[in-house]
Symmetry: C2
Subunit: 193 residues, 2 copies
């Protein structure tokens, strides 16, 4: 029947805590409290707080990539439509928690990307896996002449990713979706074939 806690369960709770609070603004003790585990279990599973945060990012990154794969398999939507639907969903998701959290990989990258090479590497790997998926959708859109072929699919994916992520800082200080909606409107108009 296994032990009381699993690494995965702790990582999932860690995802919520770290996404909301960032890295340095939350202590290991608070993570333990929210996860309901003793310190011994935490340091049995993880080498350090940094190791924990990296594993949280990797788990989220991989699970998000899988979710994206499934999302973009939807045959009811064209590539362009599915990209719009994807980002609309992302904006709506941020609205649900009142624009306070953003993306954990972005938050970790900005806060500790500079001081933790291992975090930087992990964050980059997760970004790249997402960008690959986005690029393959863009490419399909280009083949169907929905999306401009002026630039490569990966360039357009990078462009979409950058734009969306840039709205996070405005979102966090204004706490509304106005700027995300502006980005959405302009970007999808611009990448039209």
């Amino acid at each position: 029947m296994g032990y009381k806690h699993s690494i995965e369960e702790i990582l999932d709770i860690g995802y919520d805590v770290l996404r909301k609070n960032g890295y340095h603004n939350v202590g290991v003790n608070q993570i333990l409290k929210e996860a309901g585990i003793p310190k011994g279990s935490f340091y049995n599973f993880f080498e350090s707080k940094e190791d924990f945060a990296i594993k949280v990012v990797n788990r989220y990154g991989e699970s998000n990539a899988k979710w994206m794969e499934v999302f973009f398999e939807n045959p009811q939507l064209s590539p362009m439509e599915s990209l719009k639907s994807f980002y609309k969903f992302m904006i709506d998701t941020n609205e649900k928690d009142e624009f306070l959290s953003g993306c954990i990989v972005n938050n970790m990258s900005i806060e500790i990307g500079r001081i933790s090479d291992t975090m930087a590497t992990s964050a980059n790997e997760q970004f790249l896996s997402w960008l690959d998926i986005l690029a393959s959708v863009v490419q399909k859109g280009q083949e169907l002449k929905e999306i401009t072929t002026k630039f490569t699919a990966l360039e357009i994916a990078e462009y979409l990713h950058a734009g969306f992520y840039g709205t996070f800082s405005r979102m966090k200080v204004t706490r509304n979706r106005k700027y995300m909606d502006i980005w959405y409107k302009l970007s999808f108009e611009f990448i039209k074939a």
Copy 2:
């Protein structure tokens, strides 16, 4: 002849320290050390670390706005050219410190925008002042038919700002300018009239 230290001098050193290290990753003692001031002076000038960080952000924001005003007054460049030149300069600036720091207002927004309402308000005010300046340049470009009139000048300014800021997280984890260059190439192609 005045006292040994001035608020402005401490804020300027604080700008470097906070931009590089973020908020929670640097202690007040380290700031004192780098600025060469005793703790008594710090807490004589500032109510708290948070108050200090907010004043750093405001000072930088205002000085950057003034710099932007001057930059965009250059009569040798057209509006579109000056926008491109501005962002090229920004990318080059980040390259100079090895892509490790980014923008202090972005960093503070992402890290503590959620937990400090006053920081969020200040960051937003600075962003807005920059966006106003960008929007006025965009508008001139629209009047000269250099820039698309499909969207308002402020929308295009928000769009440029978001895109550029989004490249910071990729920059911080890859430590190169590739993604900033992609964003630059696509964005300025897209906003052409």
